[in-house]
Point group: C3
């Protein structure tokens, strides 16, 4: 990899920041406050890392005005350090090879429409009547099913699978291994045997959505599964048929969302949480990690399930045992109340 | 997509139903009771949706005789509405292109036997001595390992991976991204270092099984991992080595089943549940979502683990704290009992 | 498959064992104690299976000296039966076809360096400047990104995806469907909209690591995600950006590890566990299955979260209800204490 270098002032050209220190210092990459690689840029956002600020040896730190007085090196002062850092760091992204046009080893159906500015990598498959927009990148080994539509500037990394008729918006990013539009889990038991219920809807992914690796987003049974504008999904997430996820909601890894659940806008769902089917989660709701959401939640707020944090297994066994004796404790208290009542009267 | 249209009476030709209303009404797709698209078919199965029946504007509703009197439109009366709907809806499945024969971009080993009615899509790999039955569909980018046998009428969607010697029955459906026959998690620590334990069995998938997207079903260590006839698996499910799943069991998304667990027939396992290794779950057992099954369960019934549903994070913190003070509460009650005993005597 | 046959003494040639019985007996495969296939080898390691020893009809059993006296057939006596069995069983692994060189259907960039002893299977993609070591096996449909380096004797099964600049050590095994080096979940909200935070690090997988199927291991945001020497990961595991996993740690299926968590050496993490971001887990720590680790753990030991094992759903509902009435129980006890205090005074 070639090393990229920029003057600090070049990195902040379009950003609302104030520089305290040397705006001409040369930046050649990013670092953490703790590591503090010389010649590198870092930021302070999580207060947990504040303790490393005074000793940092990074070239420059992106932070708020309040923190700037403790900054021993050049400071990039702004209101929103994480966002500002993100914009500055993007200059250091590597330029990966993405040739326009269709790689000779890819398989493109004669009826598919591929914009001439799109890049179709080796071994990809583009099926009948698929429609690939301008500047789209289809990674190696991707499978694009019949009638799929992909909007401009969308990027599919290698080995993504889109089933027939899935609709992907503009500026969407889909990571490797993710499967969109497989049949939902629709089964009807009849005379002791499961029968498949046809899954006749599709999946609609709106603009600016990003989806992590190895997710599974099923097509609707009736009507569509919809991931609204700007939603961000981490890895290994299951989205059942006919789920709707509202705009700008972010969902961490390993979350499972059962069929026909509706999730509002601007929600945050922690890793490993499970959302039951056919329930509604309103806007601006935060679910902590590994919570089981078994009923609808309508008021904004933070929700959790289960009880107790992590403890030694020994303590855990004691607490579990005590919990299962709660009934007898309750009975004892009742008896005491009765006895005392009698004594008083 | 071309719109398909059928007369209602055509859709019920082989089904035991009674039509109340216009058997010649034209149906051009499916809808929900609530949406009630005109010209579309719907059904009533989950009582939760009964409230939408009286106002539906769908063309026809599949339901039981008891519900039929409240149906404002044409009613398809039957004993099992969800099953009947499933059969009727299947007329609306799109006809996807599946050409018989091997696509020129696929790679088929000279020793493999591929039935001439099978369809091998672009970029698929069929390895040495594999045997592909009649009317089988191998999706784009699938990898079929050495010596794999696939029964008639089985469908593998794009990017499925089958390791060597895996055996797949007839009329099986496997969704994209699923991996069958990878080595089980067999490791032996010796002198501080993990050594691989050879995984010498394979995986047997019996007839009529359906497996969702991005599942991982490991091959047996000694003997085989077996998924019996008619089992239905949702997405992102982990099945460890030497697991056995009994006929007609259905398992929802994100379930993990550790090695050598045995699950009976006709079980229902909720999403996100975890099954410990080397335990036995009998027939007709239902496990609720996100339950940790840590011991064998032999009697039919519904089982759960943990405590408490979803609450606000504030309440959750209070309950957790209280729980960890249960011990002192128990001590206090003991002391009170003692005191009162003394007072009485 | 051709049946392989060995004399027992051939299988133990380099191992420290003592044979009690017929060292020339012919072994043609492996079996369990319980099944006891004649002519097959088995072992006794888990005491749970001891009950099957006295009746086994296997040809030979690998076990400790203590157990040998109850062995009705030929005994292979050693200190570490599971390890010894693993070494002996490896003779029965099938010889799968792995031709040296690049399959004509694979797509290898002209700038990539592929050792002449490496095997590149059909439909694989090797991108610009990638470097593939000696005796490496790249399975069918794998995607190897720009600048990836893969050490000698490493095996990638079919349909693995490695993003640009990922570094893989020697003697590593990666199972199908696994994605290494996708962007971490770095997003910054600004004016109501999520912005992508560039993920500028990569993933380093050290020597002797084994990774199961359909895992997702994200590249670092700043600096790298590191999986140290000899780590063993099961299937469907999520490893967030900048996670570090110490040498010889083993992690069971469906575990989620959030970004910047650090896990020590020689840890054991049970299936379905979740590790919060930015926490530290020390060396020699065992986490039981489905535990939520929400804080750093520094002392060696066994840890768990939640309470209560699996019970009938009815019992579960009772316990949950009682738990939520803990507050009123606590209040009652306080009142009783007050009353008794008054009575005594």
């Amino acid at each position: 990899m070639t090393v990229k270098k920029f003057k600090l002032c070049e990195l902040v050209r379009d950003l609302e920041v104030e520089i305290q220190g040397d705006e001409n210092c040369v930046i050649e990459g990013v670092t953490t406050l703790e590591d503090g690689k010389s010649g590198h840029l870092t930021f302070l956002n999580n207060p947990k890392y504040k303790k490393y600020l005074s000793d940092t040896t990074a070239a420059a730190v992106v932070l708020t005005r309040k923190e700037a007085e403790d900054c021993p090196v050049t400071a990039v002062i702004c209101r929103d350090p994480y966002f500002t850092y993100a914009k500055m760091a993007s200059y250091f992204l590597p330029e990966l090879e993405r040739e326009e046009g269709v790689h000779p080893s890819a398989s493109v159906h004669s009826s598919a429409q591929v914009d001439k500015t799109a890049s179709i990598a080796p071994q990809a498959v583009i099926s009948k009547n698929a429609c690939i927009g301008a500047h789209v990148v289809i990674g190696g080994g991707c499978f694009i099913g019949e009638g799929v539509v992909i909007g401009d500037h969308t990027v599919l990394h290698a080995n993504v699978t889109l089933y027939h008729d899935v609709k992907i918006g503009k500026h969407v990013i889909i990571s490797s291994g993710t499967v969109i539009g497989a049949d939902g889990f629709g089964i009807a038991k009849h005379a002791g045997v499961w029968h498949k219920v046809p899954q006749l809807g599709t999946v609609i992914i709106e603009d600016d959505v990003e989806i992590g690796a190895n997710c599974a987003i099923d097509r609707g049974a009736i009507g569509d599964t919809i991931i609204a504008k700007g939603v961000k999904l981490d890895n290994l997430i299951q989205v059942g048929h006919n789920v709707q996820i509202g705009a700008y909601t972010a969902i961490a890894g390993c979350v499972g969302i059962a069929g026909s659940a509706t999730i509002g806008k601007n929600c945050l769902i922690g890793g490993g949480a499970g959302i039951a089917g056919h329930i509604e989660i309103g806007d601006d709701i935060m679910i902590t990690g590994m919570t089981a959401v078994t009923k609808s939640l309508r008021n904004p707020g933070i929700y959790s399930s289960g009880v107790g944090g992590v403890v030694t297994n020994k303590e855990w066994q004691k607490t579990s045992a005590r919990l299962h004796r709660l009934n007898s404790l309750t009975e004892k208290v009742k008896k005491l109340e009765q006895l005392i009542k009698e004594m008083i009267n």
